[in-house]
Amino acid sequence: MAGCFTWIKADPMGIRIVPADAWIDPSRPVERALITHGHADHARGGHGTPLATAQTLAIMAVRYGVARGTQVAEYHDPIAIGGGVTATFLPAGHVLGSAQILLEHAGERVIITGDYKRSPDPTCAPFAVTPCDLFITEATFGLPVFRHPPIRDEITKLLAARAANQDRCVLVGAYALGKAQRLIAELRAAGWNEPIYLHGAMETMCRLYETLGIDLGDLRPVAGVPKAALAGAIVICPPSALNDRWSRRLPDPLTAMASGWMRVRQRVRQRGVELPLVISDHADWEELTSTICEVNPAEIWVTHGREEALLRWCELNQRKARALALTGYEDEDE
């Protein structure tokens, strides 16, 4: 049972598995890296032999080129990584290929969640609740004000705004990996079968998702489409393109942003969008806290995000917890 977890070290550049001389999501290139998922702040280029799910490795190959050697992890399939440590990748429900990593050593079970969410997502496998002794969790939306509404409600808002503005186009800012594809898949599920137009920066990931078996329907590059033909259309772009020169090619775009931060008005104002859509790939407060209850670990470490509030919740609920204050994780656009 629970001991002291001395074989796991939190270093500013990532989580180190001491006996295996390996790292999880390190922020600098290392020889042996276990990668939870493909977001750039977790999966960096230049590692010797990254160990990750096939989808994550495919995403990394698109971004950084093929690594010298790679090792594929199947979900739920334990892998000996040396030094008497076993690693098992478990679905995290965050983006395609995302995983929690269960480490077992000396009779102790440690889970590193990476980024995760609990709400359903047609583009990735759902989070697998797994008991452990030490639960190393993210806390991106670790404040009780964060309550992500059902995504169907937000999709309904988006379609209603489109219908009410037929002479404009709706331009949705969404992170290129995960958020965009989930948004598209949910639009399809809600019956939107028209072509969805993409900013150039979204195309590669969408095509990759399709290659990996996620059907996204009729997607078209926005480049070259005459302005008039985009009236009444839905266009998806990276958040950074929402207010830049690029968007001038669109017919009076109604700007929307899909992000968990859109729950807070001042964040909406900073983004300068007309239509905030509260859609997140991360667990909200309810999910973060109820997951801890379900997993019921002896100890909790918090990697990044609003850790102070989650630590306070742990204190109020008599759970042993500490913050790791890992740097290098960006959460602005998630």
């Binding site: 404040l143 009780p144 004000v145 309550r147 729950r263 807070v264 008005r265 001042q266 964040r267 909406v268 104002r269 900073q270 300068g272 969008v273 007309e274 905030p276 609003r306 102070e308 509030a309 306070r312 919740w313 109020l316």
Partner: protein, 531 residues
């Protein structure tokens, strides 16, 4: 209430002035009475339920949310009403009745007593969704703070119904929420409300900044811009009132002024406190600091009346003996004002003198010297100008003094409120109390939260996070490595600061990444600027 909540949210997300005007105007056109009147009252800050305060909301939340989680949430969100609206527990049972309208909310809230306020507010909160709760709290506590000025709301009102905004301003002050007569007049179902027999505030005439314009002093007259507060004194039917810039009545804080005018007239001037700093020869005034002691007081002691007696330096005459002079040229109003002076109590009223100069160069020289006497600058008024509400091009200009500049070192930062709640945007900076190479210390001399661009704000926020040496609640102490050029209007003696000085209107003028901290200014430089 749903429409009002929608209006608030749209206003928050619409940065352009025209966009805001259109939103308010269409709301006013399309919403029935009395809801639109109550909304207008909220937008113009004219509504207040004294038993419902921000502390009522905080009290309700304290019963429902852990105090640490509350303060972390509040700190992140940056707004009490919004934080409460997000954290309010969703009622278990589905709402089956439609939530109350704004008018119904007013009825319910105005019946609340101090004792019943928490229960009244909480049962209302249970009836709304997140957006409705936010709007309700903003409305009930009377603190909208959504960047809408009362003026903008009045312009929107004028735009909604196609009536002149000057008329709206004029009639406004005689009306009470929900402004049924005003709406009836605007939509043409009732005559204009009468104002001439009421001691009403008349909108001030304001000046444009002069900037690079050169003007001919044969057409314009130059006058000092005194560093007090602009007031209007209205006497109608034996009733005298003193109004400040926004039309707020301040008679109660300045009874000696309200008691001194017994001629039916409307006067425009600068409220000052007797002293030797401003315009010494002409029977002087004290610095702005002295006046500040008198502002916002509900009761004024005898001692205070003796120590800091107020008087008004008159600029203009709007109405005399029931005759509206506002259409007359400035020179004619001035002639009548001068003629009126002998009838006014000289202890309470004097005349703002005209500066006799022949051209702008000569005026520039006089103005440059004026810094020492704590005069805000110079006014230039067209001799033919009528007295019109607001700023009108070509009539009045203000020529402010150049700001003073000084290099200071960033010492502490605190998260801002509102739009900047997730950024460190309130900066405390200091100067050296001697030679930094000989062991001098930095002492805080001021605090600034504006003057920078959004990009500079992001830079500053990052700098603070990367250079934090200690945290005290929401405040971070930095490693004192960053130099700002701070612009300010003047320096005063301050007992609250360890440095003994305080700046007036400090703002960040430039970030001086090129400058090492030890080259920042010393306190002695600031002390030499004390006025």
């Amino acid at each position: 209430m749903e429409r009002f909540a929608g209006l608030l949210d749209s206003l928050l997300l619409t940065p352009s002035r025209n966009g805001k005007l259109e939103l308010i105007a269409s709301y006013l056109r399309e919403t029935p009475d009395p809801d639109r009147g109550w909304a207008l009252a909220a937008l113009t800050g004219a509504i207040d339920f004294p038993v419902i305060k921000a502390s009522t909301v905080r009290g309700l939340m304290a019963d429902r949310v852990d105090p640490v989680l509350w303060s972390l949430s509040r700190d992140f969100v940056g707004d009490t009403a919004e934080t409460a609206s997000l954290l309010w527990p969703e009622p278990q049972a589905a709402r089956n009745e439609p939530p109350p309208t704004l008018g119904e909310v007013v009825t319910i809230l105005s019946r609340a007593t101090r004792a019943s306020a928490p229960i009244v507010l909480s049962s209302l909160l249970d009836q709304f969704d997140t957006a409705g709760r936010y709007a309700l709290i903003k409305f009930a506590t009377g603190a909208l703070r959504i960047g809408i000025s009362a003026r903008l709301a009045k312009v929107a009102f004028a735009q909604a119904f196609g009536v002149p905004v000057d008329d709206v301003e004029e009639y406004w002050h005689g009306q009470q929420p929900p402004y049924s007569d005003l709406f009836a007049w605007a939509i043409g179902t009732a005559p204009a409300p009468r104002t001439d027999q009421l001691p009403l505030f008349r909108p001030f005439m304001l000046a444009h900044p002069l900037e690079d314009l050169t003007i001919d002093l044969t057409d314009y007259v130059a006058e000092w811009k005194w560093d007090g507060i602009r007031v209007q004194i209205v006497n109608v039917g034996g009733d005298t009132r003193v109004y400040s810039r926004g039309g707020d009545e301040i008679s109660i804080s300045f009874p000696e002024i309200a008691g001194a005018l017994n001629i039916p007239a409307v006067l425009d001037g600068e409220l000052l406190v007797r002293g030797t700093v401003q315009g010494g020869e002409a029977g002087g005034a004290a610095s702005f600091n002295a006046l500040q002691q008198r502002l916002g007081r509900k009761a004024v002691s005898k001692a205070m009346l003796n120590e800091a007696p107020a008087f008004v330096r008159l600029y203009d005459l709007l109405i005399l003996d029931g005759e509206d002079l506002r259409e007359l040229p400035w020179s004619e109003r001035r002639r009548r004002l001068e003629g009126l002076m002998p009838q006014l109590d000289p202890e309470r009223f004097d005349l703002s003198q005209i500066i006799a100069v022949k051209d702008m160069d000569a005026l520039g020289e006089i103005r440059a010297v004026a810094r020492d006497s704590a005069i805000e600058g110079v006014m230039l008024k067209h001799r033919q100008s009528p007295y019109v509400a607001g700023r009108r091009a070509g009539l009045w200009y203000k020529w402010k003094r150049e700001p003073l500049l000084i290099d200071c070192v960033l010492m502490y930062a605190q998260r801002g409120s509102g739009k900047r709640s997730s950024f460190y945007s309130d900066f405390t900076f200091g100067c050296w109390n001697g030679d930094p190479d000989a062991g001098a210390e930095l002492l805080p001399v001021g605090k600034a939260y504006f003057g920078f661009t959004d990009e500079e704000l992001r830079f500053l926020d990052r700098h603070v996070r990367q250079h934090t040496v200690a945290k005290y609640g929401p405040v971070r102490e930095t490693d004192r490595s960053l130099v700002f050029e701070v612009a300010f209007d003047s320096v005063h003696i301050s007992k609250r600061h360890k440095s003994g000085v305080a700046m007036r209107f400090p703002r960040i003028h430039r970030i001086r990444q090129d400058k090492p901290a030890h080259e920042a200014e010393r306190l002695e430089t600031l002390r030499a600027l004390i006025t």
